[in-house]
């Protein structure tokens, strides 16, 4: 399985993603909905409850998901597509989209898990179509973003910040 070197999300696609997440959040009465890359990077988030901890949540949830996939392998399963973490007050439902993204829904006891499962499936289908466009655009847009000036400036910044 060959992996992409990078993934470029444009303005147009981010609007589509944000709209899908917002609709899912409203329809399920979730407190927060996030879209992560499988490496743990946060693509975008809706809802205030996770905004300030999004980076840490992204790393931990992607780690837990990746770990669960290896558990699946050991059991002879291809993978586990979803994880449900249940707390006293808050629950988290995480589902994988096309082996690339993780859709995370944070909700409380007033929302039924069945509703989250059904509506997240619908949202996943919409996000899959957007992901296809993102993948197609990635090659086309790369050179317009990362030019020589960018590379030179980022090297200077690395030298400036990462020093004894």
């Amino acid at each position: 399985m060959e992996q992409l070197t990078n993934l470029i999300v444009s303005d147009r696609e981010l609007v589509l993603i944000s709209n899908t997440l917002l609709k899912l959040m409203n329809d399920t009465s979730a407190s927060s909905v996030m879209l992560l890359d499988k490496s743990g990077q946060v693509i975008t988030t809706q809802g205030m409850s996770t905004k300030h901890i999004a980076t840490s949540l992204g790393a931990l949830l992607a780690g837990a998901f990746s770990s669960s996939r290896h558990v699946a392998e050991l059991l002879g399963e291809k993978d586990f597509r979803t994880i449900f973490q249940q707390g006293v007050h808050e629950n988290i439902y995480t589902t994988m989209i096309e082996d690339q993204w993780l859709l995370v829904i944070v909700f409380d006891k007033l929302t039924h898990i069945g509703l989250v499962k059904v509506l997240s499936k619908k949202a996943s289908d919409d996000l899959s179509r957007t992901l296809e466009r993102v993948k197609a655009d990635t090659t086309r847009q790369k050179s317009s973003v990362l030019n020589i000036q960018f590379h030179s400036s980022v090297e200077d910044t690395i030298d400036l910040l990462f020093r004894d």
Binding site: Q3, T44, L146, V154, L161
Partner: protein, 191 residues
């Protein structure tokens, strides 16, 4: 796999510190955390056992600020070094953009280092990557230990690809930033 978010003008890259147990991966991140400008770093997460051994990973997000209009972030991870956590290492490697292989320079650790780098190659292959064309640097850590092997011996047997390598004593910070600078630049060059 780096994420470039044009809409929010952000670039995220993932760097993984790999190596055997007690080689100093967590120490590298801890040194960066305590010495770097606090405005650059986020909260460091460590999922460790009660005896402070890494159980899953350590995580340290670094924010370089805005570069040519793009907010650039590096996320540093370590893998658990103990042999029984091979599957966990593979899970953490998923989506990495660059790897630092931290070597414990002590003679008695030589064989373990060799096995670990072989395992890294195999794990990357399982993720569809080849170490030969992947952003990758070596760190010869624990240079202050009495049984540390000469650097030319480590280079000959552990650095067959002749990637950049750095001598280090991570607990005192020696070599920590030169290693981080090198892997960061390699990752950005690969974008």
């Amino acid at each position: 796999m780096a994420l470039i978010n044009i809409a929010t003008h952000e670039i995220h890259c993932k760097i993984v510190y790999y190596g055997i147990g007690y080689c100093g991966k967590t120490t590298n991140l801890q040194y960066v955390f305590k010495s770097i400008n606090p405005s650059v770093r986020g909260e460091m997460l460590s999922i460790a056992t009660e005896t402070e051994r890494t159980l899953f990973f350590d995580f340290l997000p670094l924010d370089l600020g805005t570069v040519q209009g793009f907010r650039t972030r590096f996320h540093l991870y370590t893998v658990p070094g103990q042999i029984l956590y091979e599957r966990t290492r593979l899970a953490v490697l998923n989506g990495a953009d660059g790897i630092v292989f931290v070597v414990d320079s002590q003679a008695e650790k030589f064989e373990e280092n060799v096995q670990s780098i072989t395992e890294l190659e195999m794990n990357l292959r399982r993720l569809g990557k080849e170490l030969g064309n992947f952003p990758f640097v070596m760190q010869w850590n624990k240079r202050d230990m009495p049984s540390a092997l000469p650097v030319n011996v480590l280079e000959r047997y552990l650095n067959r690809r002749r990637v950049p390598s750095f001598e280090a004593v991570a607990c005192s910070g020696t070599g920590v930033y030169s290693t981080l600078r090198a892997i960061s630049k390699r990752v950005m060059a690969q974008l």
